[in-house]
Symmetry: C2
Subunit: 206 residues, 2 copies
DNA sequence: GTCTATATTTGGATAGAC
DNA sequence: GTCTATCCAAATATAGAC
């Protein structure tokens, strides 16, 4: 008997259904809030009964975890192909990407960056993906001699702040997102400023 | 009959119990998360049965609303008595107060500044209190000719970002809060910078 | 893999006695 | 005002037939 290396249609179908479930979950969460996702609603949305979901995910938290992993993967996959070498252009690019990623899907933002679902903790595997995304950003910072923790933390604070304000106070709008270039300039001015007014001292400061 | 203007002990007792309920709610939320508050647990915590709570609050959301209003009132009441006139000192003071307020009670922060409880919207009365707090800050900005929306929004983004990062990634720590002075300097440098690299142009920019 | 049926728990809220 | 008793709805999850 010849074993023809056929496509595994069963596996394809299965992972297709998994993707369908996650997509439906995304839609429901966007409509009703991340915390109010229910397996009944979710199953009905794709023409199944609730117990059938357990053939694809072992629990509700496993669905959250898959959404978390998917979100982290998107953060990785959709990142700018090349970050400009110029300091200001680079910061603008990174900051702009992060903010637009966060406001493009507030539910995803809540799941990835706020810790607000009572029983949910991402699995080690999922968390590792998010760590990879962070590491790639850190590399660019290191290439520009900006890998001091205070500098990186200040940068992430600026990005988080713009995203948080936009999503909390005016979801879907641009009142804060349009400040990205301005914020990038603010950050770059600060980290390139002279030491007459020491900001984030590279060494002991007094 | 002489009507002696006695203290209304009944009203005192009632508002005392209301305060007790809110304090117990705060404790439970801090322990289990804002979203997982239950009326049964809450009542048990103060030696009552769940239905009795309805003598003090008409619904669970009314409890959330009272917590919201209380938080806003705290933001007002505990604000610095006097904000320094000097620009950098003033920004440092305002930013420092806001951030320490946010990280002092992450649950309160979540309730006031993130919109994450599925069915809850603050009442108009409660929301008005938070507006008052914002207005007072705006006045200081106006006194320094900084009341352009972009400047204020950039400032709130910086404050929110520090608080959000601290509460999400290291609740109770100081990895981000210790950056407050640095962030204040960054902000002030930016808004006082020359127009060679226009930041938040006061007038039309091209 | 999907279903029906159900276990089990839990939640907010109400009725009515005391 | 507080309680007991209860309603009603919803949730996650499992058992077992098909």
């Amino acid at each position: 008997m010849l074993e023809v290396p056929n496509r595994d249609r069963r596996a394809e179908r299965r992972s297709g259904t998994r993707a369908e479930i996650l997509e439906a979950a995304r839609g429901l969460c966007a409509a009703n809030g991340l915390a109010s996702l229910s397996l009944r609603d979710l199953a009905r949305q794709i023409g199944l009964k609730a117990p059938s979901l357990y053939s694809y995910f072992e629990s509700k938290n496993a669905i959250y975890d898959a959404m978390f992993a998917q979100g982290c993967q998107q953060l990785l996959d959709e990142r700018p192909a090349r970050i400009p070498t110029d300091l200001l252009d680079g910061i603008r690019t990174i900051l702009g990407y992060f903010v637009s990623f966060c406001v493009a899907d507030p539910v995803r933002y809540q799941l990835l960056f706020q810790r607000t679902i009572p029983g949910f903790e991402p699995s080690a595997q999922s968390y590792a993906i998010s760590q990879t995304a962070m590491r790639l950003t850190l590399e660019w910072f290191a290439d520009h001699d900006l890998d001091r923790p205070e500098v990186v933390d200040l940068f992430t604070a600026v990005g988080s702040g713009i995203a948080a304000q936009q999503n909390s106070n005016e979801p879907g709008g641009d009142r804060w997102t349009r400040l990205v270039d301005d914020a990038a300039l603010m950050f770059v001015r600060h980290i390139t400023a002279g030491d007459d007014q020491p900001a984030t001292p590279r060494r002991k400061s007094r």
